[in-house]
Symmetry: C2
Subunit: 150 residues, 2 copies
């Protein structure tokens, strides 16, 4: 299952559009409810050689799409990003990784609410970590699941 | 004064590093305490042809550097970005612009606090608007001014 997901979803998230493709974001692992991605330091450095804030934002945001594709029925639902709160806590001087997950219970809750109301808000916290495991950035991501045709 | 600022600061913000240069961000206007920038829709579209969230984040973040350079003494102080709260309120389907400003009173407060303590937090709200003047995104940007050598 995970191998199939990797094959089908990797091009959708790594090559989805030029902005992301230029960053060289990599999908490391994907399964229903869980995704791990990495952003290479090059070519995403800022004027002092650490990873630029906009690249860190993108690394925190893109896994939402991958997680949606591995977890929800894309023929029935689609997600929108409503917002994010992001805090930079340490300079990012290596490749940076993120892992996000959503529980089966939360998937069931969000799906049921979208079925009933046409839309449902959900969110998750995520941590971006460097090659030594240090947290460089923490975010709270806010999404909405919408039911097609609602 | 503004013409000189535009000449000296434009390359610093438009070509500062590849991530931003690839987006084609433009510095439209700069004066002490005020800056206006625009992000072209192409090449920053997402999979549905609107401006990608990461490009909107960057358009909200980069003016902080430009405003610092036009307003503070870079030989005495440097800024860091501590975080941002960003809300996406409307699809961004044209070039997107932002204008940010800081009052002389706030510049005096932040400078005095950095002189006394070595650092001082400050923040501002900003709105990103499309070609018709619609607000597509609102943010609260949190920065810290630090005094060199403190």
């Amino acid at each position: 299952m995970s191998d199939d997901l990797m094959t089908t979803i990797r091009p959708l998230v790594e090559k989805a559009f030029p902005f992301v493709e230029r960053m060289g974001l990599r999908l490391d692992h994907i399964e229903p409810g869980r995704v791990r991605m990495t952003c290479p330091l090059e070519p995403n450095t800022n004027h002092i050689g650490t990873m630029y804030a906009g690249a860190l934002f993108t690394l925190a945001e893109i896994p939402g799409g991958a997680l949606f594709l591995s977890t929800f029925d894309a023929a029935t639902y689609y997600p929108i990003v409503k917002g994010m709160e992001i805090k930079f806590v340490k300079l990012a001087s290596t490749d940076i990784s993120v892992e996000v997950s959503i529980s089966p219970e939360e998937v069931a809750r969000v799906s049921a609410e979208a079925d009933a109301n046409g839309k449902a808000d959900f969110e998750w916290d995520c941590e971006l970590t460097d090659a030594e495991g240090n947290v460089v950035c923490v975010t709270t991501n806010r999404y909405q699941l919408r039911r097609h045709g609602s």
